[in-house]
């Protein structure tokens, strides 16, 4: 219980820091960076090592009703094309995601995957280190969430599991609301290397609606660099949004109450990289192909939508 203050401290530091920096420039930054470094070390210590055995099917099963209610009533979630995912064997699910630190796409898709294939099928998700070291979110590990590191990802795929990655990471979820219908992985191609090394198919998972759960204004990249958050927490952004219940929400460290936007997720047919791009696929070519495919799907989903939030 003693650690519960860490995240709160981190969050309030985030808030104070941004105010100071927008108004007074660099005043007080040395004290601040010292405090931040301290928090960073605390957080580093809390990052759990990946232990795939921590996934607990009974725990997941018992949480499904609550997830089902949230997904069905709040987000009116709809997941299409789960039949495209191979029935067994390792697979890399590559998704775009949205909604700041409260990503509803993940909730809706995780629920759908677990009910469709059963909690018996091993299914892991990669998440940002900070997410897993947050007090109170430790139970995510029982869902099969592991810290985003190449070694963890490889281990999961080698064990024959399905692995869900969001290459866009914090960069993508905090994009401004007016870019809501854009797939933005920030050029990250590590996941392609991962699929090639493990020799598993990629299944693209495209979702829409998450960026309508609040009014996202800016990633605050310059602010994050100024505060050295990128070096200490692997945080490239210090997002600014207007969200419930805070009003102006800087950092989004404590999360927010998402608006009940309709979430639609479409699962595309699997791509066997070596069958499609030759024995030594060109990373740029694969990346461009995936981006085009996912963006076209997202455009189609966007065209279906009549109103923001309502869907």
């Amino acid at each position: 219980m003693a650690d519960t203050g860490v995240a709160g401290q981190a969050a309030s530091n985030g808030h104070v820091a941004s105010d100071e920096h927008t108004s007074n420039g660099k005043a007080g930054s040395s004290l601040l960076s010292r405090a931040l470094r301290e928090v960073a070390q605390q957080a580093q210590r809390r990052i759990p090592r990946a232990d795939l055995d921590e996934r607990d099917p009974d725990f997941i099963r018992e949480r499904l009703p609550l997830m089902w209610m949230l997904a069905s009533l709040w987000y009116r979630g709809e997941v299409r094309g789960l039949g495209n995912i191979p029935d067994s064997g390792p697979v890399l699910l590559v998704g775009n995601h949205s909604g700041g630190n409260m990503t509803p796409d993940t909730l809706v898709f995780t629920l759908a995957f677990n009910t469709y294939f059963g909690v018996e099928r091993a299914f892991y998700q990669l998440a940002h280190n900070l997410v897993l070291s947050m007090p109170g979110l430790g139970s995510l590990r029982k869902f099969g969430t592991v810290a985003a590191a190449p070694s963890n990802a490889r281990k999961a795929l080698e064990s024959g599991a399905a692995l869900l990655v969001y290459p866009g990471g914090d960069y993508e979820v905090h994009r401004p609301s007016w870019e809501r219908n854009r797939v933005d992985f920030d050029g990250r191609q590590g996941f392609i290397r991962l699929a090639l090394d493990a020799d598993v198919p990629i299944v693209p998972v495209v979702s829409i609606g998450g960026q309508e759960t609040a009014l996202f204004l800016s990633r605050g990249e310059r602010l994050a660099r100024l505060l050295a958050l990128d070096r200490m927490f692997r945080l490239k952004v210090l997002p600014i949004s207007i969200a419930l219940p805070w009003g102006l929400n800087v950092g989004d460290m404590l999360g927010h109450i998402p608006l009940p936007a309709k979430i639609t997720v479409e699962t595309l047919p699997p791509i066997d990289l070596r069958a499609e791009f030759g024995p030594e696929p060109d990373l740029d070519e694969v990346y461009a192909h995936l981006m085009r495919l996912m963006q076209e799907t997202l455009d189609a989903l966007a065209a279906e939508r009549r109103l923001p939030v309502i869907g």
Partner: protein
């Protein structure tokens, strides 16, 4: 939670049984069912296993089920092996005039899921009973339509003969 729906089908009990007991036909009349695949060596009979899914809200729920009662042409019951806890039953009884009363029952839940589970079961209630009502309606339509065609074929054959 329990849900059920019943109807009277204008066809003999054997005809209705041949449809409800055939795993190949489940998708053609069971409302909300998105998957009904045979998972056992024997496609029918006691101990046959199917992987089934039913769309409820934002998820397709179900899992592996096993036939635990096979009393042709009257009773067919199944239990869940994995996935959502469920117990289902087709109950067919002869009705006057060569017709058949068909009833489907489904009890479902997630044991151990506490208050959220209790609430979710109730919230899912209308969707589940809606699916069951549509199922019996579609069953009656399917059976009666096939029966009309069979009778017509017999008359055609008699005229030709």
């Amino acid at each position: 939670m329990r849900a059920s729906a019943r109807t009277v089908v204008s066809a003999p009990i054997e005809t209705v049984w041949s449809i409800v007991s055939d795993p190949e036909r489940a998708l053609s009349f069971m409302s909300g069912v998105t998957r009904w695949e045979v998972e056992s060596d024997e496609p029918t009979g006691l101990g046959a296993r199917y992987r089934m899914l039913l769309r409820v809200g934002s998820a397709e729920v179900g899992g592996l089920i096993e036939i635990v009662e096979w009393d042709a042409p009257r009773d067919l019951a199944w239990n869940s092996v994995t996935g959502v806890d469920q117990r289902g039953r087709w109950r067919l009884r002869p009705a006057p005039g060569g017709r058949t009363q068909a009833e489907i029952r489904l009890a479902y839940g997630v044991a151990g899921s506490g208050i959220a589970g209790w609430l979710a079961e109730r919230l899912a209630g209308p969707a589940v009973s809606g699916h069951l009502k549509t199922t019996v309606r579609q069953l009656a339509r399917l059976v009666e339509h096939e029966r009309t065609r069979d009778l017509a074929a017999q008359r055609r054959a008699a005229r030709a003969g």
